[in-house]
Amino acid sequence: MVEYQTNMYEGMLAETVMMQGAGGDTINAYFARPLGPGPFPGVVLAHHAPGWDEWYREATRKFAHHGYLAISPNLYFREGHGAPEDVAAKARAVRGVPDDQAVGDLEGAMRFLRSLPISNGKIGAFGTCSGGRHVYLAACRVQGFDAVADLWGGRVVMAPPEITDKQPVAPIEYTKDLSCPLLGLFGEEDRSPSPEQVAQHEQELKRLGKSYEFHMYPNAGHGFFYYDRAAYRQEAAVDGWQRALAFFAKHLAGA
């Protein structure tokens, strides 16, 4: 983590780029990076169910501010273009995007960052809500991530009736393949994932000897980082951001 001093130079470049996603498709992404030669660690951000929206642009720039190459691929690219809410509403109507596609897009974003000459070769993944689920899946199914932060990702634990063609395997089933340390941030009042589901996930991580840190916040529910929503919980959000940044600083430092 970069601790800024008031007499330091600070600069950032943030822009839309095109990248190769699942199936070789070209999709767009929001990319932010500190100015300078680096080398910098990288973070791939998987946006939440409400879409590839302003909050995710802000989160992407926040990681760049803290010294990361940060990229947020548009996981709803194939749904068409318009206001982020309208695109997300279309994705919601068809029960989201296929897991294979989201994982492929996140893998593409990881490869995009690692290919940059200013990369230090270490790449993490961060996601909230459905994005938390997607980054967990990616960290299990794809080699190349060095740390993953799942923030209140629902449906990691899935009941048999919830299995669909788009979500054919519950992410918890892939836990044996988790290839990097995991940070999990959850709210006690959340119903997706419920505290019981989080406990079940934690039990599986423990059983398989995986490296993980889970934090369950009291008086918080789903989406407690979102300052623009009623779910916002200031104390938990501040603590959660500190934990996430400390987690990535620990695991993504240069070799």
Binding site: P50, D86, A89, R92, A93, R95, S130, H222, A230
Partner: protein, 89 residues
């Protein structure tokens, strides 16, 4: 999506969106995260015309209880209209 509970039906009618009236072709009904209503989950109704792009949408996000009351009221109003011989289809 966190609940993944969604259904789509074909409908006929008109809706007034951000750019004025347009022909409705589909209604998407979901119980999932709303964009604006201060609820973790809401009954979301999107009246759309997919052929006109994602912006052709009239959005409604209401609580589960509101949705039940709305559904019951729609059926009650239709029943009264049918009893009066006003329903043509």
């Amino acid at each position: 999506m966190c609940t993944m509970i969604a259904e789509q039906i074909q409908i006929e009618g008109s809706g007034k969106g951000a750019s004025g009236w347009f022909t409705l072709r589909q209604a998407n009904v979901s119980y999932d995260h709303p964009f604006n209503a201060p609820l973790e989950h809401a009954l979301n109704l999107d009246f759309v015309n997919e052929a006109q792009g994602v912006g052709a949408r009239v959005a409604v996000e209401i609580s589960a209880q509101s949705a039940r009351t709305l559904a019951e009221t729609i059926l009650a109003v239709l029943a009264e209209a049918e009893a009066g011989g006003f329903v043509e289809d």
